[in-house]
């Protein structure tokens, strides 16, 4: 869905400091990047992704920015199987308990 309705839970993106206007102590690679900010809230008027919008956050604060996600989901998980961890497990059991016997 690309269109969000007033009252939807959304995430917006805002540029706080454009590249070149970062803090002086920031290293070179970071100087080339904008300082970006994301925050979630309730959309105040119908809008499409990429539109400049206004949201109300859960603390009641109004924030403005570019609409970037509608009903944003959490993307983190338990990752892929890691063979090293199994190897560590089997090794530790062998050292301490002597394997299968």
């Amino acid at each position: 869905m690309k269109t969000a309705k007033k009252g939807d839970w959304v995430q917006i993106e805002e540029i706080v400091l454009p590249a070149g206007h970062r803090a002086p102590q920031v290293p070179e690679d970071t100087q080339k990047c904008d300082l970006k900010l994301w925050v979630k809230g309730v959309l105040q008027a119908d809008a499409e992704l990429g539109d400049e919008v206004e949201i109300k956050t859960v603390t009641g604060r109004t924030a403005k920015g570019t609409l970037c996600e509608i009903n944003p989901r959490y993307v983190h998980d338990y990752g892929n199987f890691q063979p090293e961890l199994l190897q560590v497990e089997l090794q530790l059991k062998e050292i301490l308990f002597g394997g299968d016997e």
């Binding site: 706080v16 400091l17 206007h21 970062r22 803090a23 102590q25 920031v26 290293p27 690679d29 970071t30 080339k32 990047c33 904008d34 300082l35 970006k36 900010l37 994301w38 925050v39 979630k40 809230g41 956050t57 859960v58 603390t59 009641g60 604060r61 959490y74 993307v75 983190h76 998980d77 338990y78 990752g79 892929n80 199987f81 890691q82 090293e84 961890l85 190897q87 560590v88 497990e89 090794q91 530790l92 059991k93 050292i95 301490l96």
Partner: protein
């Protein structure tokens, strides 16, 4: 007229913003020269041990179990010389509301904010502290904003931080996420200015005092169960509050003989404010990137004076490798039945090696665990490392290169605690005093302050100052 929200303009208003957001008059404790009345500040602004214990127990914090890790101790003894291999215990701080020792800091801060009549609290943190503040704010009916350094320029974030976002939102907080950079603190200040909320900084006197109960409980639990004080308590060290608070609590319990060690993951070579390096790390805290700067110069936080001052309390500082921490995290799960960490297991990893230097009847306490969840777990962190081009292999842990490889020890006997030269840290601290205050002359009061800060005698401090061209009046 709208306030100027440029980086420079916000920073120029920092003093007033912080003052309104904490109502602590730090000037009251300042000496004429470089020093300030640390104990005076802790006494006046902090709470008594009894008050803190009561506040915490009423809010799901404290009295966490002290668990003997018998299998890990047995494993350590297999690699220790005869008669060596101290008993390893761990304080299961994951049992606190919100799942980490940070609840001790947050409980006192949020209580204080409520008492002063603030409507909400703001904390700048990508770590467990955010969850702790959000959870305590929920209990007190206060609003909460957590400001996180979360993503690189591509909006890719470490799984551990993404989980912290989720848990803060689960406790009803608003989470403001930023790309990499120290300007996080400017956004933090701007939000304090806009909302009038309380600055629930990690480094306030009450935040640090809140951890004193942890050291106090350890001493009490050891005496009840083992009939003596612990020989060593080891703390994962980042901003310094964990170690400072724990050490102060041990002293308040009268455990004068207990040594306090710090442990950090060695991330040397990675720049903490670099967009490229940001996602090359596999833990977001407990590493040298925070630990060492805060050890050698504590007053770099969002408070005029940092109440966490590790050189006053630290007897030894050691580093471990990321691969070793992941190995021990797996060992804790499969040998002891506790799925915790990983970042909080930094001190456990060091303890595994250090126990092998200590006698079998000695007591070594690892003073924290932290909750584990999606993202905040060895598997997703290794997955993320691989996605970011980090090589994962078995080998000699000392060959690990931060940002390039994760080296799992081939066997547990290869896990080491590497001493960081505290003498060097003390000298760096003095160098920072001289540079940051542009010192050319030092008063007796300045000398005394430095002596207290680094626990060295007058002759040492005077000689160090003179070496740097500072005359002592």
């Amino acid at each position: 007229m709208a306030l100027d929200k440029s980086y420079e303009a916000i920073n120029s208003r920092k003093h007033d913003i912080i003052k309104n957001a904490m109502r602590i008059d730090y000037d009251e404790f300042e000496y004429e020269g470089i020093g300030f009345d640390y104990e005076g500040m802790m006494k006046k602004v902090g709470y008594s041990m009894d008050e803190m214990r009561k506040i915490q127990l009423e809010h799901g914090v404290g009295d966490t179990p002290l668990i003997e890790l018998k299998n890990l101790t047995a494993l350590a003894r297999k690699y220790a010389p005869a008669g060596k291999g101290a008993r390893i215990f761990i304080k299961d701080e994951a049992a606190n509301a919100s799942g980490s020792f940070k609840a001790r800091r947050a409980s006192i801060s949020v209580h204080h904010a409520k008492k002063l009549g603030y409507k909400g609290v703001i904390a700048a943190t990508s770590g467990n502290y955010g969850a702790a503040v959000a959870s305590q704010a929920a209990m007190h009916g206060l609003k909460c904003i957590v400001v996180q350094e979360c993503y690189d320029d591509r909006k890719v974030g470490q799984p551990e931080i993404l989980e912290k976002q989720r848990i803060c939102e689960a406790y009803g907080a608003e989470v403001v996420q930023l790309t990499v950079g120290p300007e996080l603190f400017t956004t933090h200040l701007s939000l304090l200015e806009d909302t009038g909320y309380f600055n629930a900084s990690l480094y306030t006197p009450f935040g640090i005092a809140g951890v004193e109960t942890l050291g106090y409980e350890i001493a009490q639990q050891c005496r009840e169960r083992l009939g003596k004080d612990p020989d060593v308590v080891i703390c994962t060290d980042a901003g310094g509050g964990n170690l400072t608070g724990t050490a102060r609590g041990l002293l308040k319990a009268g455990a004068q003989g207990t040594k306090v060690y710090g442990a950090c993951i060695d991330l040397s070579g990675l720049h903490m404010a670099s967009d490229k390096d940001f996602n090359k790390k596999s833990c977001t805290t407990g590493h040298t990137g925070f630990g060492l700067p805060f050890v050698t110069w504590p007053d770099r936080s969002d408070c005029p004076r940092n109440a966490a001052r590790t050189l006053r309390y630290m007897d030894r500082l050691v580093t471990v490798k990321q691969g070793e921490v992941f190995y021990i995290t797996q060992a804790l799960a499969v040998l002891e039945g506790y799925e915790r960490g990983p970042a909080g297991n930094t001190s456990l990893t060091a303890a595994f090696a250090l126990a092998q230097e200590m006698d079998q009847d000695q007591i070594l306490i690892v003073q924290e665990t932290e909750y584990t969840g999606a993202g905040k777990h060895v598997m997703p962190q290794m997955t993320f490392a691989r996605e970011n081009g980090i090589e994962i292999k078995f080998g000699e842990p000392d060959t690990e290169v931060p940002g390039k490889s994760l080296v799992f020890p081939e066997n547990p006997g290869q896990i080491k605690a590497r001493d960081y030269d505290l003498e060097h840290a003390r000298q760096s601290y003095i160098k920072n005093c001289v540079n940051n205050y542009h010192m050319t002359a030092a008063s007796e009061e300045d000398v005394k302050f430095i002596m207290d800060e680094i626990r060295k005698d007058r002759d040492y401090v005077v000689a160090q100052l003179k070496q740097r061209g500072v005359t002592v009046k």
